[in-house]
């Protein structure tokens, strides 16, 4: 009986359609933490702390890096925006307080650096779709200027982009007091706002990681975040561990996307023949459910995983 269920489940999983992006654009509200580091040596301070080299950042440059603990595990992911003597840090939802405490405690005695809490001050919107540039051009944004390395200004907002799973996602930072007005402008130019389920479905399908993945349960290389780790920049918290993993190839887990015929609980699962799997999120999708999971390296190349009791997941690389 169990075998029959598994086969039925497998067929169902295979029929799941791929993500269909909105013909123009959809607006995804992405909860975040916001911190501001002020001072003439703020970039140097960030450089001592983050996994990326911020020392050469110019005005309005963007750099995404990680704040890790001494064990190399992720404490926060920070989108760094250099606004001269003020460094804007967009972090994971819920991580702001701990990140700010980390940043304050290591300020050298001879440097005047202040850290401010802006968690409620700035909102992070993502724009995803097949014609996001058309939507932005309708606002008067020069879309040719948008890049992953720079922030461009549009009124009070900052705009950049990130490449996720072959889709370009527009990152928009806007003062929270102006968020609704900005969203209305986007709507007037063909965008729609996504509800929570749709937002999570898009996030999973595109592999946009957030606090559910980028936390102290995982190392950067387990989440395909090696591009946010600069092993040539010198010491930062966690560097020894990262360097060892890089040189010895000791990554034992990886992140994948799963598609399933029914929901799977977030948390750890013991899968026979595979080992421990950590499901970080799961949501409904057209024709079933999708999830993100960190699995043993050997399981990444599998086509399917069986959670038992007839629940089978198709495995997709991120």
């Amino acid at each position: 009986m169990r075998t029959v269920l598994a086969v039925a489940a497998s067929l169902s999983v295979e029929r799941m359609p791929p993500l269909e992006l909105h013909p123009v654009a959809e607006v995804i509200h992405s909860p975040c933490s916001v911190s501001v580091v002020k001072g003439s040596t703020a970039l140097d301070h960030m450089n001592r702390t983050l996994t990326v080299d911020t020392s050469e950042m110019r005005y309005k440059d963007r750099l995404d890096g990680l704040l890790c603990n001494a064990n190399g595990r992720i404490l926060d992911r920070l989108m760094v925006c250099n606004l001269e003597d003020e460094i804007l840090l967009i972090g994971n939802h819920g991580s702001g307080k701990e990140t700010r405490e980390n940043l304050i405690q290591g300020i050298p005695w001879e440097e005047e650096i202040t850290v401010m809490d802006g968690d409620m001050a700035i909102s992070h919107l993502r724009l995803v779709g097949n014609a996001v540039n058309r939507c932005l051009a309708g606002l008067g944004v020069d879309t040719l200027e948008i890049s992953e390395e720079r922030w461009i200004e549009y009124g009070s907002a900052l705009i950049s982009c990130t490449q996720y799973n072959k889709s370009s996602v527009i990152e928009i930072l806007v003062p929270t007091v102006e968020r609704d007005a900005f969203s209305s402008l986007l709507h007037e130019n063909g965008a729609v706002s996504s509800d929570r389920n749709r937002s999570e479905y898009v996030r999973i399908e595109l592999g946009i990681l957030d606090h559910r993945e980028m936390n102290s349960s995982f190392l950067p290389f387990e989440l395909n975040l090696g591009h946010m780790v600069n092993l040539d920049k010198g010491c930062y918290p966690g560097q020894e561990i990262h360097a060892r993993m890089d040189s010895r190839g000791k990554v034992s887990r990886g992140i994948v996307r799963l598609s399933l015929q029914s929901g799977v609980d977030v948390g750890k699962h013991k899968v026979a023949g595979v080992g421990n799997i950590t499901v970080t999120t799961s949501t409904t999708a057209p024709g079933g459910f999708v999830a993100l999971a960190v699995v043993p390296l050997a399981a990444i190349s599998l086509e399917e995983l069986s959670f038992g009791v007839g629940l089978t997941a198709a495995v997709h690389s991120l």
Binding site: M116, P175, V177, Y236
Partner: protein, 128 residues
């Protein structure tokens, strides 16, 4: 209004600091090396030992010879006629450290053994 011009930003975030009376032990080689490095400037200059973020383990040690800042935020420790300063904010992290000096070509220089550190990195320059 720029991105930082809106409402909702706090005043600078402040975290409570634990201040303890710092005790530091210097070995004889460390004292001799410090004396030599001070180059007879003991009356005007001091050695500041501090901790700052970074390093593989979270915090890095720093030792600097600077003109005496005459600042009450520092604790002053007399070491064989030389003055060593530790900032109050670093006092809990640096209390009880033992400063040694190794005169070797590889891995030589001042070495700090810190009883407050849960871990230290291979090069010995950072702790956490």
């Amino acid at each position: 209004m720029g991105i930082l011009g809106g409402e909702g930003f706090s005043l600078p975030v402040v975290t409570p600091t634990i201040v303890v009376d710092v005790k530091i032990e210097f070995t004889e080689p460390a004292k001799r090396a410090m004396k030599s490095t001070m180059n007879d400037d003991e009356n005007t200059h001091v050695v500041v030992i501090s901790a700052q973020s970074g390093g593989c383990s979270g915090y890095m040690y720093d030792m600097k010879i600077v003109e005496d800042p005459q600042d009450d935020s520092f604790q002053r420790i007399d070491v064989g006629g030389m003055t060593v300063l530790v900032h109050n904010k670093d006092s809990a992290m640096l209390n009880g450290i033992r400063v040694d000096y190794k005169d070797t070509l590889m891995g030589g220089g001042f070495q700090i053994d810190n009883p407050n550190a849960d871990r230290s990195c291979g090069c010995g320059q950072s702790f956490g």
